[in-house]
Symmetry: C2
Subunit: 612 residues, 2 copies
């Protein structure tokens, strides 16, 4: 208990819930970490896809095309901000405008994405450490696990003070990245950097197109996280949507500058994709040598990635709680824990990301493949949702708004298809398989809750039975016994107080036990009769339940037989493995064996607590 308090802190009262509001500067730090962190791997991705042959010729054109897409998506979000000032995430937008089916598809994609955000960010973070210290490679999974543990615990503590903490590394990363690009633009390329001479002329047009599309698809990972501001409008100072828009524009400018700048400098210095050293590490090494600035840049990269992982720990539990409130997942995901955090969602996210990191052995590039797919699905769907929204609302300039969002949706849809096409066998099929599975589970759970509600609903009538007071006739009572102890006595005593139609029952699975009980019975001089049920197949449950139905049918006006179960509670929980097996099985059977009549059976437990 005390350890628990030290790690997670004291419980907080419900009234302590506060909704933090951010200034533009803080908001940028909070919402920017996710998309900013993707800068640290997007250029790597493009270079990986292009390969040595095409890297020099095409990395800038591909980056340019991606910037075009960033522009389209940003404009699209820029105007969505106005429509959902409460900060509807993609799920809310799609669910409200395009209905349950597409809403749940979006939710599935988002949940998978949050998980991948954690796995990708930590894996890329490990890669940044390995770039600086190659011998660290064998510890990269451990690095991810330790980081995950720290992030999970701090989120379970309900890290409310975090926004202030985030500003330093976020702005720090922006600064060092800016600095590196400026220095890179100014510095001349040393002659030792050889330009690979094989070029475009030797490749067929078809191959070039395939490679370009793949590079575009890989590079699109830089867009992940761009939706954060649109989903968080409600956290801005007033006037909310104006402040949010300004922040979005600033974010757009910084993102484009950093992404294009890094890719340009990488191209200028003829950097190529290396398995164990990131482009940022190669670049800062060339520009600054392995000195203070080099390590500062790596450190900032690791920080921004950890913060990106952390951001998923607020997004996932919040989305899960919305789904739980709408009864698409078990309602316990909407419970606030001791520290006012959605503990169940946090733990779930931590577990699934852990499994992902272990399965992929912190191989960031396999994970990023899966990542973009979900991101672009939710882009496409939420833009489409906005189209529907504007058509429904028909406000000022609605035609233009529809056109912009439709164009955004179309552009991201095409990108999505490119991503699927380039990555289908690389793992995209996993997502395409998981989304419908999630979707149908959500639906099944939701329908189940509805069925329960209908069946328990009092307005459906048939209540007479339940409201009529129980008659004066004493009920029938049966006490199943396996041996004589204080718990048994307490049960028999309560049974006698309830009725005078009591019978004690032992199922004969071991003649020695029966003989012992008979002896005890005689010596105690009980007024209650003892029945011995034979059990040729050594089952306790079946003979007892048969006997019970028999009793039920006798004197039906007395109602269903009440079962009084003596039990004892061992001093420590593990000791249950030594006792109570039969009692537990019997109780489960009493609960779950289908009843013939509608009447509810009363089951009484009298737990005798052992002192030791």
């Amino acid at each position: 208990m005390n350890l628990n308090r030290i790690i997670f802190g004291n419980p907080l009262k419900t009234e302590n819930i506060i909704s933090e509001r951010y200034s533009k500067t803080k908001a940028l730090a909070v919402f920017f970490s996710d998309v900013l962190s993707s800068i640290s791997y997007a250029t790597d991705e493009i270079l990986l896809a292009l390969g040595l042959m095409f890297a020099h010729s095409f990395s800038m054109p591909v980056a340019g095309a991606i910037v075009g897409l960033i522009f389209v998506v940003s404009v699209s979000y820029w105007q969505s901000i106005e429509a959902y000032p409460d900060g509807g995430g993609a799920f809310t937008v799609v669910h409200e405008n395009l209905g349950e089916f597409l809403g749940l598809i979006t939710a599935s994609a988002l949940l998978i994405d949050y998980t991948l955000t954690v796995a990708v960010s930590l894996s890329v973070g490990a890669r940044a450490v390995v770039s600086a210290f190659p011998s660290f490679a064998e510890h990269s999974v451990s690095f991810c696990m330790v980081s995950l543990l720290i992030i999970t615990v701090s989120n379970l503590r309900g890290a409310k003070a975090s926004s202030r903490l985030l500003t330093v590394p976020t702005y720090g990363f922006i600064l060092v990245a800016f600095g590196m690009i400026i220095v890179g633009l100014g510095k001349s390329v040393p002659e030792s950097n050889v330009i690979p001479e094989c070029g475009v002329t030797e490749a067929s047009n078809l191959l070039i197109i395939v490679v370009l599309l793949r590079a575009f698809a890989y590079g699109c990972s830089v867009l992940t996280g761009i939706e954060a501001i649109a989903g968080g409008v409600s956290s801005f100072h007033k006037p909310q949507y104006k402040n949010a828009r300004v922040t979005l524009v600033v974010m757009f400018c910084i993102l484009v500058f950093l992404f294009l700048g890094l890719t340009f400098v990488a191209d200028k210095f003829h950097l190529v994709f290396l398995e164990n050293e990131s482009v940022i590490s190669q670049m800062s090494h060339q520009l600054f040598g392995r000195g203070f600035f080099y390590y500062l840049i790596q450190l900032m990269t690791v920080f921004i990635l950890l913060i990106a992982a952390n951001s998923a720990f607020s997004g996932f539990p919040r989305l899960a709680s919305i789904l739980a409130e709408k009864k698409y997942i078990p309602t316990s995901f909407a419970n606030l824990g001791d520290r006012l955090a959605y503990s169940n969602g946090i733990v779930m996210l931590a577990l699934v990301s852990m499994v992902l990191i272990l399965i992929f052995e912190s191989d960031s590039f396999s994970l990023i493949t899966l990542y973009s797919l979900g991101v672009f699905s939710s882009f496409t769907l939420s833009q489409a949702g906005m189209v529907k929204y504007w058509i429904r609302m028909r406000g000022k300039n609605w035609h233009i708004k529809v056109a912009l969002n439709a164009f955004g949706s179309l552009a991201t849809l095409v990108t999505l298809l490119v991503i699927i096409q380039s990555n289908f066998l690389n793992g995209a099929w996993i997502i395409l398989l998981l989304v419908p599975i999630f979707f149908s589970v959500f639906l099944k759970i939701n329908r189940r809750y509805q069925v329960t509600n209908v069946e328990l609903d009092l307005k459906r009538g048939g209540l007479g039975k339940f409201l009529k007071p129980m008659g004066e006739t004493k009920p029938k009572v049966v006490v199943p016994i396996s041996r004589m102890h204080k718990g048994t006595l307490a049960a028999l005593r309560f049974a006698s107080s309830l009725s005078d139609d009591v019978v004690a029952v032992i199922v004969n699975v071991d003649q020695r036990e029966v003989d012992k009980l008979k002896l005890a019975w005689r010596s105690m001089n009980f007024a209650i009769p003892l029945m011995i049920l034979s059990s040729p197949y050594r089952s306790v449950v079946n003979p007892f339940l048969d006997f019970l139905s028999e009793l039920d049918e006798r004197d039906p006006e007395k109602g269903k037989t009440i079962v009084i179960m003596p039990s004892f509670v061992p001093g420590q929980f593990w000791q249950n493995i030594l006792h109570n097996q039969t009692a537990t099985i019997l109780k489960t059977a009493l609960f779950y064996r289908k009843q013939t009549s509608e009447e509810t059976r009363v089951i009484v437990e009298i737990p005798y607590q052992m002192k030791k």
Copy 2:
């Protein structure tokens, strides 16, 4: 349910238990498989330990020394048979004569050994298949798993007809092994078999001693299973102990002939240890080529190993049931399953062997190392137990009997020390660690059962409270409610029938739910008052339990407050994940929260069964 019946068969009545009795021929087949199977790997073990350098010079001397040990152990068992005609296994002998401490040590060693019998036999079986079909190597773990599954299921079915089935492969193996040895003795060695020329002269005396001891220790694995007859005297036809003795002598002769013969022929043909081909496979290949006889011999080897694995499936559950009867392990291990087999023990053995095979990746040689250690511990202890027995009994010639068993015990003890010395770092430490852990778990469980017995014992008095009938005063009743449904109504109805001092309670963790309930309450016009408990920390359990203690203290003459818990049972079990979380937590708290007074609380459950 039907699938269950097809796989495991229909339940059997208790009266169908039969104790099979064996003729000498059958008994040999039943008890011989374990020790016989070890012939198929013992020579490999000796050659492995000797290495290329010493194989030719020392394999026969080492085998000779081991035969000496077999003789000593057999004589020792030969006379134990007389003492325990009911077939006391090593555990019974040690427990009765040397007390609980050494008895439990023996039991631990035996349980570990049974598990290793399964793992070793299946792994060596896989190696025999690989010897014949080298490309099968990657499937050897799967081979073990499938065999394990078949053996487990057949034992859960209660394979009573098995003794007849066993005679064919057991005698078959003996026959083909005899045949191979005879042919091997007759055939001359082809000149192509090169004798490794490096020899003893180059090695230091110390090295030779170390190597010889290790070869002796490895080869001693041939003794595993030799105790089976002594433990099964009760299954012989009368006169039991005479028939058992005759069988033991026959077994001794066959064992020694086969072991010495195989080792001699292996030496004659200059066979060496090969990672992927057993000595038997090499030998039969040399003698018969890859023809019918070759494959017949491999097949028989696999069969005898499977039967040896199967034999552990009767030994382990039987020992477990004895330990459970004596309350050293949970009593459920003494329960006979549907098919009159000790199902729990069988499943436990299957699971642990499975884990062992997976951990060691069916590497038989690492497993055999662990194996002999346990075997020789139980040899040593049971012989020592016999010494004590004869001293206590002082029958005819007791001095001689003491001397023989003491010598047997000493010889096996020395062997045990050699085994530990040669294998300590190879894995013997695992066993040396496991045995005391098992031992202390057994003891802890036993003491726990004793404490329970004492505390529940009626003879210890303090029963007045339990026997005094409950007064005429109606008890206090509380009904915790979270929402209104038919189950709640049933609970309230039963509460009213019990007493007129009833209060319904809701813990306020969600104001909306409270408001809904209040509304329902007013519209139903209940006579029962509704209390709303505030819960600043969103816990349901604590405010409710506090309220309960408060109620308990009011009107103490009315006794402890009765808690009536409405609950509903979903149509399918998995749906519990959607409901009932709070009810389950609350009930657990009611059971396990320490009570201040000794009086037992009555807890009533009224499960409303949903139809869908």
